[in-house]
Amino acid sequence: MSGATHGLVQVPPGVQCFVGDEARRRRVIEERVISVFEGWDYQEIIPPLYDYADVFAGGDLAPKTYSFVGRDGSLLALRPDFTSLLAKIAAGRLSGRPAPIRLYYSGEVLRYEPPQAGRQSELFQMGLEHLGGASRAADAEVLAVAAECLETLGASGWVLALGHVGVFNGLLEGSGIEGSRLATLRERVEGKDPAGVREVLAQGGASAQVREAVVRLTGLAGDVSVLGEADRAFAFSASARGAVAELYEVVEALRGAGLADRLVLDLGEVRGLDYYTGLVFRVYAPGLGFEVGGGGRYDALLARFGRPMPAVGFMLGLDRVALLLERQGAAVPEAPAPEVVGGGGLGAALLRARERRAAGARVRFGDGEGA
């Protein structure tokens, strides 16, 4: 199986190929999502497949980035995500364009996954970025667009799970817990693992108040009452309470917009903390064990490219949406059966086929034998 002895039809790990109906279903999903993005007046951007590697440096994805050396000796990388690329373009090419800038994308990203993990290296993402807008209004808008995507796709039972990184950060502020211990603690909060959180905090550092608050954080998920509970429990931390208040404002807006049933709170959602600075959310639906997509606020990223401005975005994974709809039995229209046109002289047959095409028919051209 190694070296040059593998057959030419062997597939390298991590790539996929979609044929016929499967490809068409993905195209239909993509078109539906794009129609929603366009409907909210986002503009499409088709960024390059690769760029200088330092555009993507610094994030969680850096170790998963495929990089290579260009002919001129510069280090280049295949895009592992769209957001940093769009931030760069907004700060550079679009620097003269006034904020807010609304952009959407749809395409592949490439990430190195160890072969034994059996994960895909090539992921198709559909997402948008709202750059430089008023924060709370932009948060609410992006969540409303995400909700409409799920509605338009015909998914059922989906929820938007909302959190805010300022809650965890606020509680740990000045606690003296940092570095790898903070990373472990975050991992345990992420896993909603109160026993694991106690274990980390038992090594000292944090006050009893902070310890209890972080343990509490692992269970603060559910309906909007969670926010009131958090506000009381975290009374000692002005920044944690500030984050809760911010979240409350967004939740109220979405409740006002008829999305109350679709919202759940998840204050223990602390993934991607190096990157996100405010609201974070994930889309979950019954039938798929992992999130369908997600997003959040990243107010610090644009400054890296020299145009500091707040930003919020979200993304849906096409593979995950396709799998979810398949598992939920959501219908994607089938291709119509073709009309077979042929026989009676090639020129005449081709003319009839062209006429049927002009009338909008799906035509299979052939001579009737082995068409």
């Binding site: 909603k192 693992d193 694991g196 998920a221 759940v264 998840d266 019954p286 999130e291």
Partner: protein
Amino acid sequence: MSLTVALSKGKLLAGSEALFRKAGLPFPGKEGRRLVVALDGLRFLFVKDMDVPTYVEHGVADVGVAGRDVLLESDCDVYQPLDLGFGRCRLVVARQKGSGADLSRASTLRVATKYPRVTAAHFLEQGVSVEVVKLAGSVEIAPGLGLADCIVDVVETGRTLEENGLEAVAEVASSSARLIVNRASYHARRGEVSGLLEALRKAAP
């Protein structure tokens, strides 16, 4: 649609059964060898203990019972909101009793274990180069036969170590049974999951 519960066929089965019964939840009897059993609104999957986190991570099961040792090794992305209090054990480094050899003097330590991920992480964190020899069981005999310098394995009472002439020299982690929950089920099937979670929380010591 009923909730699906993944359970280990192994050492955590008796404890899981006792806890489910104490919590007033259904639990299949010992009839037959069926691996998927539907009972009173729950569906049970009986799988290998190392596979429980995988079933839950992928959402094939909504909840499961898994040892923390297994969770550390599998590195699956699941919630673990409840320490169920049974199945307590320790994951330790053990070597031949009285060998007197200084483990830190080996340039590369050969370690036999069923837990390659946890083992590699444990030694590398301490700055020790390690060659992990992955075994599926009977790990205790590896040092005596010269397959490894030491082992990393779970101990409950320490009797198996004792009987094979080994002694524990360091603890890697402590473990007990955890209730694990799929991330999507936790949020999107909140009502059913929290019902089960609360029943088990009340019953757990």
